[in-house]
Symmetry: C2
Subunit: 225 residues, 2 copies
């Protein structure tokens, strides 16, 4: 059996494929978009709530929220080109205030439906059947059924010239959260809130904790918490 | 029982807490960092591989990878201030090339250990026991055991002046993937790869598909796929 040694290699190696961007560029547009959107991995499934200058509410699903820093508490999200996704960005420019709301399985289908291209005059809360919530003097609407949500004040809109998208930077001003989710060390067990993660352009997942680890130091073995 | 009507409100309302940023700022530093880092939701757990100008490999865990666009295929990540996290960014500036590798449960503890502040001359692949993989003429190392990984060419480093972080923008040049993961429509079922999502500064999760939905249109009910 001269080939026996080959079987000591992990079987996975045989399934690994190398694809160049020149090959990927030849793919059909929607196939390619699904593939590239999935490649970067799991994302924070979020609904962003805004109002325009007349107080007309808007709600839209976003998957590009990114943590920028905790002191000051800055959060970013990527807004697609204005021609594709104008309402949220225009409202934030007009008012400076917006909310980010976690998505849970009980309303994930409605959340996805906010990605439809509704005209500017449509209130997506009403169109998809998600209840809005206004808190104190924060002019942007929250999602009533979201267990983890926060309001932000616009800090800067950074144009990304390479593809006409925008990095929208906001400072957290208020947090609404089910306080039973907060652990003794400040950690928020989002799986207990049912907060979802999204993948690609249309998939939504629940999560299961695998491990927490202690602060890593050189020459010390990693410690599970 | 004059108070009976109160019990018709969802019990959750009683646990919702509103926190202002002025309150959060008074919290102990690590408690606050855990809280704010979790608030933005689940993230793509990733290892970024680089080499310095002399070919010395570096590997570091990142949780701030963000999809910027699929045509051109641009991916961003946030690099912390240079004083806190110099090696990856300096290497990318020097060589223009880096890899992003998904993390799986089989090596998640080792992946987290790369967050230790090793000196510049330490090769984290060797220090934590992760096998590197070099492919063709791509000078940056991949993680051999990662089932989904890709190489990028630096496009732009955008300084974020408000907290001295950086948005690093790269164009995908090559993808290495277990081709059995790719669905007929280009979707990548990352749960089958065991690709993990991270939360906060130290937690790692596996995922379970809840739903995929069709392209949403106004006045049409949302369609499960």
């Amino acid at each position: 059996m001269s080939g026996t040694q080959l079987f000591y290699f992990p079987i996975l190696i045989y399934a690994m494929q190398q694809l160049s961007i020149d090959t990927i560029k030849t793919w059909e547009r929607f196939y390619r978009a699904n593939f590239i959107n999935c490649l970067s991995g799991f994302k924070a499934a979020s609904l962003i709530g805004t109002v325009n200058k007349d107080g007309q509410p808007n709600l839209a699903v976003f998957s590009s929220v990114v943590h920028l820093g905790s002191d000051p508490a800055l959060i970013g999200f990527i807004n697609r080109p204005l021609a594709a996704a104008p309402h949220t960005l225009k409202n934030i420019e007009a008012t400076g205030v917006y909310t980010i709301n976690h998505i849970h399985p009980s309303f994930v289908a409605k959340a996805h439906q906010t990605s439809a291209k509704y005209p500017a005059e449509v209130n997506e809360f009403e169109a998809v059947g998600i209840q809005s919530q206004f808190v104190d003097n924060i002019i942007a609407p929250f999602v009533a059924d979201s267990h983890v949500k926060y309001a932000l004040q616009l800090v800067e809109i950074v144009p990304i010239k390479h593809n006409n998208t925008f990095l929208v930077i906001g400072a957290i001003t208020n947090v609404l959260i089910d306080e039973t989710l907060i652990a003794d060390d400040g950690f928020i067990a989002l799986e207990n809130a049912g907060s979802m993660t999204s993948l690609g352009i249309d998939a939504y997942y629940t999560t299961q904790l695998n491990a927490r680890f202690g602060y890593a130091k050189p020459n010390l073995p990693v410690q599970g918490l």
